[in-house]
Amino acid sequence: MLEANLQQRINAQLLDKLQLAYICVDSSMTVVEVSDNLSSYGYNDIVIGANVEECVDFMFGFDAQTQLDLPMVQSPSGITISVSLLPSDRLLTVLISNASNQADQRQLLQQKANENELLVERQEKLLTQLEQASEQLESKNEQLEEASRLQTSFLSGVSHEFRTPLTSIIGYTNLVEQSLQCPTDKTGSDIQQKADHLRAVQRSSRHLLSLVENLLDHGKLDSDEIMLRPKTTNLVELFQDVELLLKPLSDAKHIELTINLDIDDSTIVVIDDSRLRQCLINLLGNAVKFTDHGSVSLTADLSGDFLSIKVADTGPGISDEDLQKIRLPFWQAADTGKAGTGLGLTITERIIELMGGELEVSSVLSEGTQVSFQIPAPMLMDQECAKVLNSKQSLADMTVLLAEDDHDIAALMVVMMAERGVHLTHVENGALALEAMQSTTFDFVLMDIHMPVMTGYETLAALQQANNSTPVVIMSASTVEAGRMKAESLGCYDYLIKPVDVDDVIEIMNHVALDKDADHTC
């Protein structure tokens, strides 16, 4: 008995010295024996007969056959221990040793290593961010350089585009002026020559106007300010107009320009004719500009309320690479030597999209280019067409008031309208217009916006207040959409952009006359 106690004491001292503790469990995981020093690791509640899973947290989930080493487990006392599960035939011995020294050393090393690795990771991340920022800056720089290049090229193109018609206008007007100062020759050939010169001036002026319109439209593209204004349009007349405008250009280059229409002369559709005209001039103008030999053709047909148009040329063609870029604003092929703003196609494509179509471009190098699109163009019924076509009646009986402070424009309007049999009464501002309208009943008023004493807007407002329903057509140099909307809200009949085409005024007068007739009929 004494010997057994002694042996127990020796064993206990040995375990303490080695900082070892143990738990023995049977096959049902019931504690059968424990060392006395278990409490030094915080395991205080382990009693013989208890289930080890319930009193030792790390033993949960194991069975008596598990052989396992669990290094560095934090014990309830906070001391780090190493655990070995040693199964035998009848018992599982759980051997616990103090691993706090080893854990402390490991903690120091691991903490430093992990912190270093985190630092390296952060540095790598920062480097990547720096590289990305640098790449973005480089890309931005390239974009800026490209923008600057495009701007320079654009300004140079615009300058050239403006100079060409201006040179023509100045040159031909000089010639006409000289011939007027020395009227020695009154032969038919001289008159014919003057007429040719004036036609050249007119052509160049229209070209200048188209350039200005393109430039202004480009400014509106981003702000979605371009709006469509569909109206009844005779398609054949529209195509003939465009042909007449482009013919001199193609003739000058000895290129054949053909317009093939599969459309009846009397067909009237509802479409924004000025925007369609702008698109056709841009597309045909481009085709003529880039074609040095051969022909340019426009084919159009109307089917099921859809207008299909194809412009084909025998020009140099466009490479696949350039085909990707031609729709970009300001882009121009580098090696063509042709001046331009690089805006025509961009604007045309946008307008066609607004009209509900899609511009398609195909090209073969050295063979030519084809541009086509299809847009809705609702046709009027036969009787409606007849009404529109018959509306061009005599306007001589109409009384028309012109309110315009610019004497040159007013004088021009008076002369041009007189040539069409219309007599204008001219006043210089809105106040005088109101005064004139009190004493005389006018069928129609043409009015500028920016006038001294009383502006066009103020005059419209005064007329609206007085319930005066005389149709007023505004003539404005402003292309800003807000101006048109303001005038429309004040009850204007129509809104024309300067320079005003007298034919447009006549057409509106026809509509006014037609409305008047309709009212009388009713």
Binding site: Q74, Q107, Q110, N114, E117, E121
Partner: protein, 155 residues
């Protein structure tokens, strides 16, 4: 709780078990064992030392586990990618056990899982939670989800 080092395994555990959080990073050595309850279920949570470039997960700590929470740091994509390798270690040792994923540190500015990492996680079909041990976001949800999956498996 397994994952790469410094992803916040200990922080999530401490937030869940003791509702505490510390900004200070203290690497875990070996394993820390805690006890918590989810509803009527008692959980014994083994918070295992994180994997680093030199030391893999000690698979002995995985023996007996009924489920695994894979933890990654959402602001370090390498730790998200590393989950696949860690999951391989788990399945090699204890087979396919219930698993949920905690993408931790969701409170950090600019925390964003890139498309590649997101695709990796989606491919596995894991339940993924954006967690924050700091503000407690989804911490409880992760444990609840794991318990739910474990209970489903048992029944």
């Amino acid at each position: 709780m397994v994952g790469d080092f410094s992803v916040g395994k200990t922080s999530i555990t401490q937030k869940f078990v003791n509702n505490v959080f510390s900004e200070k990073y203290l690497t875990t050595i070996g394993v820390k064992i805690d006890t918590a309850t989810v509803g009527e279920d008692k959980l014994i949570v083994w918070d295992v030392a994180g994997r680093d470039s030199l030391s893999p997960i000690n698979a002995s700590y995985l023996v007996g586990a009924s489920g695994v929470i894979l933890v990654a740091d959402g602001s370090r994509s390498s730790t998200v990618g590393g989950l696949l390798e860690i999951w391989q270690t788990v399945t090699n040792r204890i087979g396919s056990v219930p698993v949920v994923v905690a993408l931790n540190k969701a409170d950090l500015d600019g925390w964003q899982i890139d498309d590649h990492s997101r695709a990796l996680l989606d491919q596995q079909g894991w339940d993924v939670f954006a967690t924050s041990a700091k503000d407690g976001k989804n911490v409880e949800a992760v444990f609840k989800k794991l318990v739910e999956i474990m209970n489903c498996k048992e029944s």
